[in-house]
Subunit: 257 residues, 4 copies
Amino acid sequence: MIKVLVAGFMGSMGQKTVQMVNENDDFELVGAYNPGIDVAHMQGMGLSNNVKLFSSLDDIETDADVWVDFTIPSAVFGNVKFAIEHGIHPVVGTSGMTTDQVNQLQDLAAQKHVGGIIAPNFGLSAVLLMKFAKEAAKYMPDVEIIEMHHDDKLDAPSGTAMSTAQMISEVRGDKPAPKSEESLKGVRGGDYHGIKIHAVRLPGYVAHEQVLFGGKGEALTIRQDSFDRGSFMNGVKLAIPAAAKATDLIFGLENIL
Amino acid sequence: MIKVLVAGFMGSMGQKTVQMVNENDDFELVGAYNPGIDVAHMQGMGLSNNVKLFSSLDDIETDADVWVDFTIPSAVFGNVKFAIEHGIHPVVGTSGMTTDQVNQLQDLAAQKHVGGIIAPNFGLSAVLLMKFAKEAAKYMPDVEIIEMHHDDKLDAPSGTAMSTAQMISEVRGDKPAPKSEESLKGVRGGDYHGIKIHAVRLPGYVAHEQVLFGGKGEALTIRQDSFDRGSFMNGVKLAIPAAAKATDLIFGLENIL
Amino acid sequence: MIKVLVAGFMGSMGQKTVQMVNENDDFELVGAYNPGIDVAHMQGMGLSNNVKLFSSLDDIETDADVWVDFTIPSAVFGNVKFAIEHGIHPVVGTSGMTTDQVNQLQDLAAQKHVGGIIAPNFGLSAVLLMKFAKEAAKYMPDVEIIEMHHDDKLDAPSGTAMSTAQMISEVRGDKPAPKSEESLKGVRGGDYHGIKIHAVRLPGYVAHEQVLFGGKGEALTIRQDSFDRGSFMNGVKLAIPAAAKATDLIFGLENIL
Amino acid sequence: MIKVLVAGFMGSMGQKTVQMVNENDDFELVGAYNPGIDVAHMQGMGLSNNVKLFSSLDDIETDADVWVDFTIPSAVFGNVKFAIEHGIHPVVGTSGMTTDQVNQLQDLAAQKHVGGIIAPNFGLSAVLLMKFAKEAAKYMPDVEIIEMHHDDKLDAPSGTAMSTAQMISEVRGDKPAPKSEESLKGVRGGDYHGIKIHAVRLPGYVAHEQVLFGGKGEALTIRQDSFDRGSFMNGVKLAIPAAAKATDLIFGLENIL
């Protein structure tokens, strides 16, 4: 039985984590932390009486094994530092830390022998897609990426598509895309070290990515669809036991698969 | 029984036409024309003795009902003019005529009451895709196009993708694509009156197109794959009887479907 | 401005209809009906004061042009009869009427010159898929259907897949599927007049259907994805003005597209 | 430089191998074997003078490092035995050996320290699909398989689909498919230890396979398309150097990736 504390438990992802932990026989929710909200209010959230509630980092006293963090960019570094220093293994889904901050935490974790996981994406399908794309590119280096998102997503390409391109690029190196003459500018997409990336924005779509490989007489396509952010819980569920026994602070869910 | 003459019968598409006509009980091959090749040589091509062979336009005497033309850009206009003037209904798959030339031929056809069909694409799947895309866009105006071809195709986007965009644009009018901020230039594709077009070039691929429609909570995708230019014969087979009874020179296979 | 009454407005689809009507400048919500709930309770639902609330059919007095019905199988026949008799054009999304009931209502509508629409599926993408599939089958009669739904859906195939097969079958007639030898029983799917149907059930999936056409050297695929039942509102929005001017009771959204 | 002998070099796959070896700077064609055809005839095949031609196993004298075998079921066992005994590393694409024969050859290879590769499928995309599917099933055990082939393929499911199911089943064990009620028999597909398999047969299609994984709120799909048997050469090209240094007789291309 792994004892879990959820930081940011009143947010949308925090709530999903609470629910997932409660549904899982291998996990026990022992603490819930959300700054700036008084404990009386938190008591109305329907948690079991065995769950200790905290509204300030200083107050936290817990025997939790794992600290799941879905808080905010400005708080996450302090939270994870606190967890490691108190021997609690972090599972971090909050975005916004700098590379330097991640490095500092990794040093601290190594020194304290309290490992854990920081992951920009806890969606299993997205992480598996990236892992497989990286592996396929060794054998089928001709590749393009198409990501598709709802029309409210302003930035393009998606972070996952860029990460995929970076991972592919590591194994196949620079390789120019086939020569083209665009009669309509931009039609051949964006170019990341010779990997063409295309971003589609349409209402109705949620978050989807395809990696297309072509070779003589054949094609391989890997596609993932995220219909719902609840899919992140699939990854958090895997990360909790892995973090509990980690001695390093691992970056990227793919590194525990 | 429709009597057919094949112009350019020694080329790849001409040969496929000869084979298709021979396999079809409703058609009879009565003439085969290929300029610049002596008739003695043509006799070795395995055609039936009933097929009259011609190596020059001037020599052609035929009772053909339909003239199927897979020749070359410089010859097609003269060929089709000859056919109409001699009361033979043209089915034209040769590319390269100007809009002006097509208009001239349409006028001639109307005047002589000898109609036929000129089609840039005889692939049924491509033509159906365009037809359906145009219809869907009335109800689902949010749309993007992805075309995928082999890596030797230099021009982008494909002619079919551009035609698709034009047909969609006719029904939905100008509608800007969702606002985006590209962190990698070109990633949002080419823009045709607000319709984003993406072109993929990969070895192994042949000729494929997808039209993606999105609406609140739903998506519709129409995809066509051309694995082989032999697929053009599916369209030529439909075009021959339609041309035989046409009184206008129709442009586009979709207009007989 | 079309005046709308929503029957079953407290249910999930009714609520979506209320919201859609309120967001649309061409429609005005003038009545809301939900049996068995007292009007005092209904007043707390946040509707405008101009909306008349009814909890019993007998009490309804309204100048509504259109009656949108998302109620229950046992109530829908009576509701639609009431609407037509009072000159209100019905838009019916409630399932459960028999063919005989539908016929009776169609007779009544014709007699009263008060038309409307009954549709088993208001998802635009699903209706367009069926329409296009029927048309494509004229030219590409070799076809199979794959439907994909969440793993809680017990019945297979889906109603939409069966309707698609029926519509295709009408145009292409009986045509046996290619001969196969199954080394694993059932692998070639179900057979509806020679059209093979395959049903996939997986967690994460919502409601999706693909129709695959194959021809010599080419393929055409039409796919629709329903991510959310909110997508039904796309169809209801189209149905309201069409119903308002209909003089017959039309069955199937495809017949107004 | 790896010296290669091609057995069955006059067949379709043998010819493709000859061409691939000739185009590759790391390989040298030193021998070509085809039983039952006189050497004089073989000399007309356009091979370089440095290639020794053999029409009988007994006559073969060669310094080849690797023996690529695309022959016939009745000959392959004898050929591979001959190769191993003469210190030539086999790359075997010929089908038809029994498990017992494969085991015998593996024993012989181990004893002689002359390894190689036997692969039922040299298509890289198919092999990568199987490998990834096996890995994904550890994390996303809910899975179905759809294979799609041309309408002349009589047997269903395809060998690759069955192999995929077997590999997935090894890692996820028995897990019943979701409960369904079929209103049309067979619609839920074939069942291999709880993995549903669906086979599509349509003209135009070549050889394609999809593996669909579903999890809470997400989906992962791996798809491969073989447009042309020439794609097998992508795998043979990888297998030759791997075989040349193998000390075991490896079964399955996936085991060298």
